[in-house]
Symmetry: C2
Subunit: 449 residues, 2 copies
Amino acid sequence: MQFFDLDRTDVSKIKKALAGNDEHLKVVLEEYHASEIAILFESINQQDRQRIVNLLPVEIASEVISEMHEEAHPEELLLKLHPEKRAEIVEELDYDDATDIISQLEEHEQKEILSDLSEDDASNIRELLRYDEDSAGGLMNTQFIKVNVNLMKKDAIEEIIRQSEEIEEFYTVFVVDDHNIFRGIVSLKDIIKSKTNVKITELVRPDVVWVHTDTDQEEVARLISQYNITSIPVVDQDMHLLGRVTFDDVIDVLEDENTEDILKISGVSEDEELSGNWIDAVKSRLPWLVINLATAFLASAVVRFFEPTLAKIAVLSAYMTIIAGMGGNAATQALAVTVRRISLYDLTDQQSYRTVLKEFTVGLINGAATGLIVLVFALFFDSNPMLGLVIFLAMTGNLIIAGITGAGIPLLLKRVGIDPAIASSIIITTFTDVFGFFLLLGLASKLLL
Amino acid sequence: MQFFDLDRTDVSKIKKALAGNDEHLKVVLEEYHASEIAILFESINQQDRQRIVNLLPVEIASEVISEMHEEAHPEELLLKLHPEKRAEIVEELDYDDATDIISQLEEHEQKEILSDLSEDDASNIRELLRYDEDSAGGLMNTQFIKVNVNLMKKDAIEEIIRQSEEIEEFYTVFVVDDHNIFRGIVSLKDIIKSKTNVKITELVRPDVVWVHTDTDQEEVARLISQYNITSIPVVDQDMHLLGRVTFDDVIDVLEDENTEDILKISGVSEDEELSGNWIDAVKSRLPWLVINLATAFLASAVVRFFEPTLAKIAVLSAYMTIIAGMGGNAATQALAVTVRRISLYDLTDQQSYRTVLKEFTVGLINGAATGLIVLVFALFFDSNPMLGLVIFLAMTGNLIIAGITGAGIPLLLKRVGIDPAIASSIIITTFTDVFGFFLLLGLASKLLL
């Protein structure tokens, strides 16, 4: 009995075989699952990828290509292949996977690929290319099992077996009426368990969730995750059944959405490719840094305003970095917790209000606690109790601001319909920098001069 | 035909009904899916929750409780219920869900709940409680469909139907030999399609992935996501089949892991509850702020070292905040991209090296670009070309450091087996603060005095 090796590092065996002849490489490849070869593709060049795809049976080759990460650019690999081989592979792909890959290409390249396909396949893919890739229509697969609600058990089973010849995996049997209007789902289990002379209409479960082609992919993911279903039907405005989105697409969507969240909150454009080159990275990050620079000038204007004070008490510069640094980090903490909470739950107005109140309290306590440490430090090193008091007050005040803005700004953005993760650390730290300097230097001017 | 209402805000209807009598409330509740009631539970008090659970049929009540977010503390609700009602609900739960909830309780409370259950259920749950909750054993469900490899098709179908009486959903039929050794899977589709006189051994697919009870949940999630499977078998060291983990558990794991990543990278303890109270938040965040304070003292020591310079050129204070702020944000950008990349891909040594090189280049270019802006600003406002040059060099140098540490530190941590997300913005910004001040003030001392 052969099980797959769970140690992915073992693809080194293929890497070694790449140095040898095709015969040997082919034998080595047989030991691997398509998704493992897809992972290997991330670390080898385009020429080696082509060589491997050409050696693989077409079913495996198409699976490898559909398993490749978007960032490994399967569409570029596809373009390099011989048109005949390419058409074979695309015809083997599920329509939704083929569409995802082809949609990444220029229009003339898309046309070229589609022209080599059978009329049926080409028109199906052309149809799917019309949908927004972040919608249910863009995610859905148009191959699924459906039976007419009026069929008898025996005929339904025959129909399912007939349709399943073309569909590798199915999790749910969809039920439609004579006009392809969606009527519900039926489980294979219920069909088998039922008596012989039963009709599908008696077995169908109508109380299921469904989505429209333009439903956002995040909503699709939320529904599949909330209702623990393996696939969700996609219908048009008149309830005609058009396709299904399966749980594995949703896992990919969740990973993508989470990448976007973590990037946005850190001031990186959501569409920066993780493994992109430095040019992409500069394009994605420089605009945010320029925004940050503008906000930093704001903070430094506050510092300039108090230049006379700083000239007299130079040690304040040393405390400025502490107050600003602590405020920025406390704000980032409140921001991360709040953004994540918004993305997992729907908060009521009362819950939003309580969240801000909670972060106010957290800021007050954490500010007073760390302010006290700095106060003690100031007493020992600068022997100046009044300076200590100024720092204590500035720290407490700034961490309160950090809590209120870190929680309040993403909640406000959510309420006005803007993605809360856009309230990145860059935006939030502006408040703590400006307010922190203003508090520290303002109090110092009043109390120390 | 009735479909569920997709608009979750509509649970307000239940909220209104809570003001009325039980009869009316019961009728209103019938319109809702268990997972919708679970969401409602997040915004009502414990007393109302109990009232609703007591009104619901036991199958729905148990589903509601299993769908409740961990943070809504279903275990506390369970404790408050009448022991008889509670036992009914727990017996209706899947073993893995029951275990998840009960594991959150104190040992004497666990014993109390288990003592009311049937011997069979209690011992199954007790068995599952032994596994680490972040392992495959902790995630797995011990209820699944399995058939002996030697059965004939007809007997296998009968067996599957018999076992499926107790199991609401199954996606895969597992195959074992006479000693419960795992032999592979068989799809219901293949059984139905096969000829009448076929044996399971001819239909079984042995080439499947499996996990051990102690496999980490992240690895389980990765495998299910990589191989697009609805459930993965869990075996002991001798390959005895013990349970299965299903895709819906994995969706929850992914959400949890992503929450942990975003919290850790922002300097929040990974186990802070998103909807916890201020006491939890202070406990989770204050230690990180104290660490940050220690690193801030380090940065401020650099400032103190250059106090004579600052006393002479007070305007440097204003530029300090710009250099430090920009360095911190650029480092956070590089950190976010790298941490996310590590968590989605396995990077080879060469790829890691290239990542750091890429971030060096990005830092150089973004540093020079933003440094140039500040240089022009310094020329206009401070009429001091030499000061402009100092700032330009400090900005470029600090953004290079930001890139190298933001990418290099998480990669180093990964290599020595530490979670890379622990390289939070708090740790990374220490480098940019210290180095940024050192560069700015050091260069100023050399070139401006």
